[in-house]
């Protein structure tokens, strides 16, 4: 038969859904703005790979300008100025963008994958498994992540990847709670029961029926997780407990604060903070705009049905 027709038609459905969602998304000024800011930061992060190649002076960590031994303001040579040992602040800012992206995206990815998996299992299995998993989630939920990181940082020296991992571990419960409640409501939907009546296994029901329905939500939560991960890592670095071998925006603020330049060097104080806020803001705006795509209730009337 003409079985070959099956595939492309199938794909079309997802393409169609994507284009439809995109059309709603791009109409949202907030989503557009978020995307543009995000693209700028991405360019900065990419640039951070190339700038150090210009010369040893432009290494964000060790590249002290030999001519400068104190913090200087913006100049032609150093666009944003230098810190107190003569390192270029703009280079550090670029490096910070890279770190923020790595921290934000990997934390969000780990915590959302973990949270989605646990949430689906918990919601679908129910009973004692559900109770146990949710109790564990409760414990993580009440613990302030920064405080935990501080305690751990006082006992061990944490590298950036360990920090990422710990933040991710602290952040899955809220995701899994939402995915769980979504799964619970899906579980009692007739189409899941119809599939059970047809003889489908639990495995099939979770992957074929529940997962496609919760994935958009999980994806949405990923953008929100990025925001909180970046903020926590920056706060940790700011307090001096970040990865000492890694320049980041939080670290830059830590230096300006601990070296006592905070009231003297606005060119040093302002950019990292603005960057952190803007980057988290852009992810947040992205999420909000996506929320509108996903939640038909918030769509303008008449476009829904």
């Amino acid at each position: 038969m003409k079985n070959t027709k099956n595939r492309p038609e199938n794909k079309n459905h997802y393409v169609e859904r994507f284009t439809k969602g995109w059309a709603i998304y791009i109409k949202n000024p907030m989503g557009k703005a978020g995307l543009i800011i995000l693209l700028i930061f991405m360019l900065m992060a990419i640039a951070s790979f190339f700038v150090p190649l210009l010369g040893p002076v432009y290494d964000p960590m060790t590249g002290a300008d030999p001519n400068i031994t104190y913090s200087t303001g913006p100049s032609f040579q150093h666009w944003l100025g230098t810190d107190f040992i003569g390192r270029d602040l703009f280079v550090q800012l670029l490096e910070g963008a890279k770190v923020a992206f790595i921290v934000g995206l990997s934390c969000a990815f780990i915590s959302v994958v973990l949270g989605t998996a646990i949430g689906m299992i918990s919601g679908y299995a129910g009973g004692i498994i559900d109770t146990l998993l949710m109790r564990v989630a409760d414990i993580f939920m009440v613990l302030p992540s920064l405080v935990i990181l501080l305690i751990l940082a006082s006992l061990w020296e944490l590298s950036i990847w360990v920090i990422i991992f710990i933040i991710a571990i602290m952040r899955w419960p809220s995701v899994s709670r939402i995915i769980r409640s979504q799964t619970l409501s899906l579980k009692s939907r007739p189409f899941i029961e119809a599939s059970r009546v047809a003889g489908a296994s639990n495995f099939r029901i979770i992957f074929k029926h529940i997962m496609p329905n919760v994935l958009p939500l999980a994806f949405l939560y990923m953008t929100f997780r990025v925001t909180s991960a970046i903020l926590v890592e920056a706060a940790l670095s700011f307090l001096g407990f970040g990865d000492p071998g890694q320049v980041s925006w939080g670290m830059m603020l830590q230096w300006v604060w601990s070296s006592g330049h905070m009231f003297q060097a606005p060119y040093w104080l302002l950019p990292p903070g603005i960057c952190i806020s803007l980057l988290t803001l852009s992810f947040y705006m992205l999420g909000r705009a996506m929320d509108e795509v996903l939640d038909p209730r918030l769509r303008k009337e008449g476009e829904g049905e």
Binding site: K300, E301, G302, E303
Partner: protein
């Protein structure tokens, strides 16, 4: 003079695909103390009509043309402020109980008291609650349930509370939109009796909207059958239900199951729902009509008088073709 007179009313919704003509050029009137039923299938515009009469259209909907005369006022030209003093006092509405029409965090008596209080600002609080008690008596809710929250009520009691709310200010016209759809048959029967009893006792006018022909026939003396945003047949209930003339009314009645129907049920053909966006010159039912002729598709049908009260929106030839 008629209490309510609707003339050439059209209501449209803005949508991505264009303007949806949910209500299309409707005219009818209702006298004081009469009951008028609107019956039709989902999407025929009956709910939109009810919401228009209450001034509760959603933001993307608007009255395109026509007038709604209530006594001497034209409701079509009302602003928000005027509607506010009008709604609940002159016209009120009975909603579907299952649709969670009662606020879950406010006690039932308070929800009814506030209607009275808002329209009678100088009435003292104690008198307001006396009034609430009287209305509860009327709809037969026991007095000790007054201070309950809505979730403590059964479906039937919720519906009674909603009726009580509609009656609170003794309005001249009550609009009931599918008031019994979510209820069980036995409870539905009680509520329908309640509505009939109150309507005759207070001599108010009633507009009753439902998809269930038998329910409408039970409650209302005059009937309007709606299809595709238009009234296609109107008359008193004996005329409409015992000698229907419009092909749509006929197919509706022929396929309606009752306890008395024997093997005489006719299964209608599968038909497409009418297109409410592109209004072509022609009868909206033409595509599904068994008796259609050539002009049905390109000319607008007109009102055919069958008796002094009975009319159908069709062509003479079609109606008399058997």
């Amino acid at each position: 003079m008629a209490l309510l007179r609707v003339e050439n009313l059209s209501v449209g919704y803005k949508s991505k695909h264009g303007l949806i003509h949910a209500v299309n050029n409707i005219s009818f009137s209702i006298e004081k103390g009469r009951s008028l039923g609107f019956v039709g299938e989902s999407g025929c515009g009956k709910t939109t009509l009810g919401m228009t009469l209450m001034g509760l259209l959603p933001e993307n909907a608007s009255i395109l043309q026509g007038d709604i005369f209530f006594n001497d006022d034209n409701l079509a030209g009302f602003n928000d402020e005027k509607w506010r003093t009008f709604r609940g006092k002159e016209i009120s509405m009975i909603f579907q109980a299952a649709m969670n029409a009662l606020n879950p965090v406010i006690r039932v008596d308070e929800q009814i008291a506030e209607v009275i209080a808002i329209h009678n600002p100088q009435m003292p609080r104690t008198q307001v609650f006396d009034q609430v008690k009287k209305i509860f008596d009327l709809v037969e809710i026991p007095e000790d349930r007054l201070r309950d929250f809505p979730h403590q009520y059964s479906g039937g009691m919720k519906q009674r509370a909603i009726i009580a709310m509609a009656l609170a200010c003794a309005p001249k016209l009550i609009i009931a939109d599918e008031p019994t759809t979510a209820l069980d048959v036995i409870v539905q029967d009680q509520i329908l009796k309640e509505i009939k009893k109150i309507q005759t006792a207070l001599n108010t006018s009633l507009i009753f909207i439902s998809h269930d022909i038998a329910v409408v026939a039970d409650v209302c003396r005059d009937i309007c059958v709606m299809y595709g945003g238009q009234i296609v047949e109107k008359g008193n209930r004996e005329e409409v239900f015992q000698s229907p003339r419009h092909p749509y009314t006929r197919s509706l009645l022929e396929s309606f199951l009752t306890l008395d129907s024997n093997g005489d049920i006719k299964v209608p053909e599968i038909r497409e729902s009418p297109d409410l966006i592109t209004i072509t010159g022609g009868c909206s039912f033409a595509a599904s009509c068994k008796k259609k002729c050539e002009k049905c598709e390109n000319r607008n049908p007109g009102w055919v008088n069958l008796s002094s009260t009975h009319q159908a929106l069709c062509f003479e030839e079609v109606i008399h073709k058997d």
